[in-house]
Symmetry: C2
Subunit: 651 residues, 2 copies
């Protein structure tokens, strides 16, 4: 890959590494969820690194089609190796394996295990499970999850694809009645998969029963040709995700057996009678919360990669007026502005620790509503921090050589899929309005909502004592409640004026999204502090607590516009931020390197472990396809004539 | 291009268009700088649209190399046509022509006219002009501007390339002594250009005289082969800018005649004596301010394109719970949150009116210092607004079909080149510190700095009367001054503690960047209001003033964290924003359509004039190269074996 051989390490990096005030390896264990995991991860990384099957030239120089083809090969190879190594049932091992074998190469079969298999698990009757799940787990079939249509994403109930039951043949007829009903976006749908779970409106006995799921075969199992009535293909190039064939699917009266409706929660009997079972909403919510937590940790992974690259680069990059004649130029990390830009990203990264850890979904909030907002905040921040790290690298950050554009373009769509972020914040906001109402009625609230009351509390003073994390959290709690009460007050006054609930909701929606953000930040800040405090080693606990304070202070300062904060309080917060930057700077490299991301994963010329940036940059650029010849063919074709003043018109 | 044939217009768009409260065409004239310009522009657009030479399949389906080759062809064709049409000397006509012929396709010869020719104009002696300028203007040679090196961008004085004068041969020896001294980034340097202005450290008679400019021939004029000692090539793929060959250049003791030093401001005589002339800094600053103003208007152009796409789409996209059973789903533009997201972008767009207009660089501030900050604010906001518009389009915003990813990736690097934005803000900040000092000494300040005093002024009350634009501007002026005085107070206390100037500056740098932003926003807000008021038609004046208020209110609310604002004032501002959204919504389409961007320029399936989004989307996707066959070759190569349980290892 980009830089397999670690060269003599740049002394500037060695120097920075020596400054760490805490045992980096111990933090690595914490981040991996235990020493055992760290060791396993490293073993697997070594395994993949040694395997020549995973060697190839940098993908940045390939066309999209080449990237796709390579990704298919690698994704299948990964599965095969995992099977050979008997690791298929170990979620950690397979996660580590995929991550290192396909760094930031979105897998064309990813939907199979993220959505297809979990949906079969959750939505099949026991009998259906038996029939399909094993085949899916064995990869005898490859499936995707087809919900979104050209015309409908957010509003699921608007979906137009129909599944009409025909009792005479005991089949469902799956049909796309309009252009807008064509399925659009599902990963792997275009070329890779041969099956899909299709979401469609169920019609039977002349009535529509709303959206249900159906297992539809798309391609012949032996030729892979698309089946009669199935029109599917790739939706074309995107901002990122080049390696995956997000696809479209038009169904022209495609018939599937009655048994292909996923029947855990509802059933259509042979005669067409519709029976709804008491549905287990927890299961459905469970999958959603699981996928959302994957998104949050994927965003964190994006920040960890980008921050590792940008912080290392800031240690070896010198730029600017020397402090005295003859002295070397300052390093980027010497500039307080630069420290601020990078360290706030690092703080944003480590605040996600509790989510990243061990896929601890049990620490993801009990309530489905909170997970919506956390998904939005996590992916928004993820994209923003990666972009900040990218810009921190100057021009190189714009080159694919840095690896940063790819990280940005690959985590960015998470702001849209699995629930667009604004819509997600509104979902959390709606829940918060209900919490105020419940509080007014004296009902009990879930732990993360417990601070919500129906009356304001006095503003905590920031002046006086030291600005501890607890004090700052108290302030953020107060902020969140104040904003919420103001908005719910407005909302109630609309209701009292006899506005419809939906209209009153719309009228406060803009401000409600800010409330939802404030609520999520509070949750996240508390979780950050909890996990900082949980660190046994006092040095690690110390540095994490400082980072947590930086995170909280930054929220207080940048969110001060939402509520009133006195100038002197603001000034104290600003001073505290400045001190924290100085305090944390020596640990900047150690903090990102605790994530222990190998060069093979970063794929970054400027983020290399050895810090030997410039030679590698030249080597990398020489591989650009445009450099295959000294004189490019466009010269013979066009430029020669032009320079000679001859007309190009007939070209 | 994407959608040449306008179909029957979607009635939802027709309806929205009918809601305009002002004559759209008149605003178009204003934006174009007069009816005459509008007509000329349309004529030229028609000319290009009819010319089959500019026809080609959508570039999103091409490889980077194909895109580059096509861009060379088109860029040269544009020049040729302009010459045939005798429009070369008309900056407007050529601007319009390029824009429509190469929509968002960064020109491989762009640096020739943006930097190479202007540098020759500004830095050549009269005699040198005669020799080279005419050849450059006639495109007998194609040049670029090579300043940045791998090791140095921001800190120009650190540049390492040397130009050592050898009196015996009366030549300069141009040399790259290290890897870091290799020129990196110049546009068109890789493959296209045959000449470059090279920035290098001048050595003569054993002394170094700092950076100077030299005209260096890179490639043979008849074969285009790189000359002996010249190693140049493409720097490889980037986040955007696919159509241009940003290049590298290593000079191995390349000799050029003494006369190739650009000698307007300094000279090396035949015997090697160095003579510095009184330099005309205005000229150098003039070029800088010119390029920065281009960047600001390019960012505005990006917003205008993105906003046109997103606003039109928001009119035709229905999504969500109908207000009553059987009613159609709401349009995106019906959601207040969505109105807010889009209309703040539109406000940010129209606030740049004064800069966009007629390339009115005379309205760009007299001071070089302000232009640095305006460059930063303009490009930061440009990127942020385009990204917001992109996300407003849901999943489609991530597809290249929308045109939005390209707009983002193409305007984004403007945050980095021509002075990285943080560095630019610090430049303006440094100037502001000096202004406080001058104010203290009772000296006169430039008009845009005139509000700066050495003592605070009382906070203007927002309560009481209506929140007029003037009142809001007064508040922002007060905010800017308050922040600045606080920071300069800190700065002075460091100086009093005998810290070095540079250290004191670093200590306040983080906060100073916020001061610089606040100062620029104030300037921009005032300019926005001035141009709104200047509109003769009272309806246009009305709608622009409302937009200006939205812009200002949003700044007050989001910048409130920097200073103290009472909760009741905040609440009033929020209410005012809500009312403005309702007031402005009917004009949303009219406002973006006043920019009159033809489909050919937008290259967007979802931003089409006719609003027929979905059919076009399907058509577009079908052209994806992955769809050339039903079964992709990766199936035969890998998937078949895999599904059959056979090993892939030997592939
Ligand atoms: C890379 C990628 C991969 C994907 N993979 C899959 C997949 O495997 N399977 C699948 O089924 N789908 C997939 N999707 C589709 C994805 O789930 C949808 O894009 C997403 O649900 C948003 O729906 P939409 O695109 O229709 O946007 P819309 O719902 O049309 O929303 C557009 C805009 O309107 C706003 N908006 C919508 N409703 C409201 C409201 N009520 N209030 C305020 N604002 C509103 C949103 O904020 C958004 O900005 C994928 C998408 C992407 C980008
Ligand atoms: C698309 C593109 C086109 C370009 N075209 C050309 C061209 O035609 N010709 C040409 O000569 N160059 C060109 N450039 C180069 C461009 O001018 C440089 O990238 C730019 O000047 C920044 O320099 P750098 O990349 O070396 O970043 P650096 O100067 O190394 O800066 C890196 C980071 O450090 C921070 N930093 C640096 N100094 C300070 C400081 N004093 N205080 C605080 N922070 C600091 C910056 O904010 C930045 O985030 C181009 C670049 C791009 C991306």
């Amino acid at each position: 890959m980009t830089n397999p051989v670690v060269q003599k390490v740049n002394p500037m990096l060695t120097e920075e590494r020596a400054k760490a005030s805490f045992p980096v390896e111990e933090l690595t264990y914490i981040l991996d969820g235990g020493k055992f995991n760290t060791e396993k991860r490293r073993e697997i990384e070594e395994l993949v690194t040694k395997d020549p099957n995973f060697e190839h030239p940098p993908i940045q120089f390939m066309t999209r089609e080449q990237q796709y083809s390579l990704a298919v090969k690698k994704a299948l190879l990964v599965q095969q190796r995992l099977k050979e190594l008997d690791m298929l049932d170990d979620p950690y091992a397979s996660y580590f394996f995929r991550r290192i074998a396909m760094p930031r190469e979105v897998s064309p079969i990813g939907l199979h295990w993220v959505m297809f298999v979990p949906t079969l698990m959750g939505q099949c009757s026991d009998e259906q499970r038996e029939r399909w799940l094993q085949r899916a787990l064995n990869y005898e079939i490859i499936g995707t999850y087809a919900q979104t249509e050209m015309g409908h994403g957010t509003f699921l109930r608007g979906i137009e694809t129909t599944a009409t039951y025909d009792p005479s043949s005991q089949q469902f007829v799956l049909h796309s009645p309009t252009t807008t009903s064509i399925k659009w976006w599902p990963g792997g749908l275009g070329k890779t998969c041969n099956y899909a779970v299709v979401v469609a409106q169920l019609h039977t006995q002349g009535r529509c029963h709303g959206v249900h799921m159906f297992l539809v075969q798309l391609r012949d199992e032996s030729t892979h040709r698309s089946l009669p009535g199935v029109v599917c293909g790739d939706i074309g190039p995107k901002m990122g995700y080049h390696t995956i064939d997000n696809g479209f699917l038009q169904l022209n009266s495609v018939r599937i057996p009655r048994e292909n409706m996923l029947m855990r929660n509802a059933e259509v009997q042979p005669d067409g009678t519709y029976i709804r079972r008491v549905s287990n909403e927890k299961l459905t919510y469970g999958t959603m919360v699981f996928v959302r937590s994957l998104i949050v940790s994927d965003a964190a992974r994006g920040i960890s990669e980008a921050a590792t690259i940008a912080v290392r680069y800031a240690c070896v990059r010198r730029q600017g007026e020397p402090s005295s004649p003859g002295a070397p130029e300052p390093r980027l990390l010497d500039y307080p502005v630069h420290q601020y830009r990078l360290l706030t990203c690092v703080a944003n990264l480590l605040r996600t620790m509790p989510d990243v850890l061990e896929g601890r979904t049990e620490r993801l909030p009990e309530t489905h509503a909170l997970s919506a907002g956390l998904k939005a905040v996590g992916s928004n921040r993820g994209a923003a921090c990666v972009e900040e790290c990218r810009r921190c690298c100057g021009g190189f950050g714009f080159s694919e050589a840095s690896g940063l554009p790819k990280i940005y373009n690959d985590i960015n769509p998470a702001c849209t899929y699995e629930g667009e972020n604004t819509v997600m914040l509104l979902q959390t906001g709606r829940h918060l309005l209900k919490c105020v109402e419940r509080a007014r009625r004296g009902e009990q609230l879930a732990p993360s909502d417990a601070y919500i009351r129906s009356r304001p509390t006095p503003q905590p003073k920031l002046a006086g004592g030291p600005l501890t994390a607890d004090l700052l959290l108290g302030w953020l709690r107060w902020r969140s409640l104040s904003m919420l009460l103001e908005v719910s007050g407005r909302f109630n006054s609309f209701i009292e004026q006899r506005q419809a609930w939906a209209d009153a909701f719309q009228a406060v929606s803009r401000r409600l999204t800010r409330c939802a953000e404030a609520h999520c930040i509070l949750y996240v800040g508390q979780a950050f502090l909890d996990s900082a405090k949980a660190a046994e080693n006092p040095k690690i606990c110390g540095v994490l607590t400082s980072l947590c304070r930086l995170f909280l202070l930054n929220e207080v300062v940048s969110g001060a516009g939402d509520v009133q904060l006195s100038r002197s309080d603001l000034a104290r917060c600003q001073d505290a931020i400045d001190s924290l930057l100085t305090e944390l700077r020596p640990n900047a490299v150690a903090l990102v390197e605790a994530f222990d991301l190998p060069d093979r994963m970063l794929c970054s010329v400027i983020g290399r472990y050895d810090g030997q940036v410039y030679e590698a940059m030249l080597q990398w650029a020489r591989q650009s396809p445009l450099n295959a010849t000294d004189v490019h063919e466009s010269y013979e074709l066009y430029t020669r004539q032009f320079l000679a003043g001859r007309s190009l018109a007939k070209l």
